[in-house]
Symmetry: C2
Subunit: 193 residues, 2 copies
């Protein structure tokens, strides 16, 4: 399915447990490689419900964004902490600028506000931060999954199945697009030979 795709899953203490564990499992099951990216404040991070602990593979300042296909931002209290680390914000801003898929759920879009990438974009989130997203220029809607270009957002843990599916579909579509481009490039080369 999405073998070879590389995703960065951003973590900090207090993430909504299922919003880390479920995308992680879904993406791995679909064949992707998931890099756990911490802020650098500590080596491992714990969910707000204490049911999930994750060890970071690397820190945000060491990630080469050009090697990624997507960035996932879980919710809970973690995004409020991620926003205090400039490299976490830079990673999201740069991924967006390079056209990578940026997927955020629950309070995750707080980091998208900090990266200033939601202006004019249709997004959703946990309802408490709808006002902050609107003030940042986003068009906030109350839907289980919203995709606007490279930005995918969802509201809460119960939206995760749709969120994960949308993310996989976006990565698949990206592969098709790249394949088409390669075939096109190949055909052009054939014509020139």
């Amino acid at each position: 399915m999405i073998e070879g795709k590389r995703l960065a899953l951003l973590v900090e203490d207090g993430f909504e447990d299922s919003e880390v564990s479920e995308p992680l499992r879904a993406m791995k099951d679909a064949g992707a490689r998931v890099l756990i990216v911490g802020s650098g404040s500590k080596p491992s991070y714990r969910g707000k419900r204490g049911s999930v602990d994750v060890m970071a593979d690397t820190t945000a300042d060491r990630v080469d964004v050009s090697e990624l296909d997507a960035v996932i931002v879980p919710g809970g209290y973690a995004p409020d902490r991620m926003r205090l680390h400039e490299p976490m914000i830079d990673l999201v801003r740069e991924a967006h600028a390079k056209g990578k898929i940026v997927a955020a759920v629950c309070h995750g879009p707080q980091l998208l506000i900090s990266a200033d990438i939601v202006k004019g974009r249709r997004v959703t989130s946990w309802p408490s931060i709808a006002v902050d997203l609107r003030n940042a220029g986003a068009i906030w809607v109350d839907e289980p999954m919203v995709r606007d270009g490279n930005i995918i957002t969802s509201r809460r843990p119960s939206d995760l199945p749709r969120f994960n599916k949308a993310l996989i579909n976006a990565l698949l579509a990206e592969s098709l697009y790249v394949n088409e481009r390669e075939q096109y490039a190949g055909a052009k080369q054939d014509n020139h030979s």
Copy 2:
């Protein structure tokens, strides 16, 4: 000092413990009456550190704002929950519209964003929400205590002594102003008699 003053201290689960207990003690010590106002989601609320439990005296929808002198919004995770309850937002908006003192610390200003009362105002907060305050039109500054008219804000628990002092001073100044107005009204009445 500020005997007879009536303050509403807003609460929801997950408040920063000291940001409820310290203003509560300081205001009571100064002679004020403090009403603990809950969102209505439950009868009592617990701090994020589990060291403070408070029973609500009333709910936001039952408060007569005209009988208050000030509203205090503590920080922690509580303001994120308060924002989901329209009567909590209305209370802050109405208190501001009536010129009452609105004091918020740490994440407390999130509720001021929801009430849309920070436009053009100098404020401070926990740094993670500085971007949200700026997007809401506020002039964000990194200072232990900021007073702009009726709005008093601070950044974190260690700022609480200055926060409490500023709140007491604002209530004292309000008393002096009211006394002056009454004396002036009295003098005018004397002239007319």
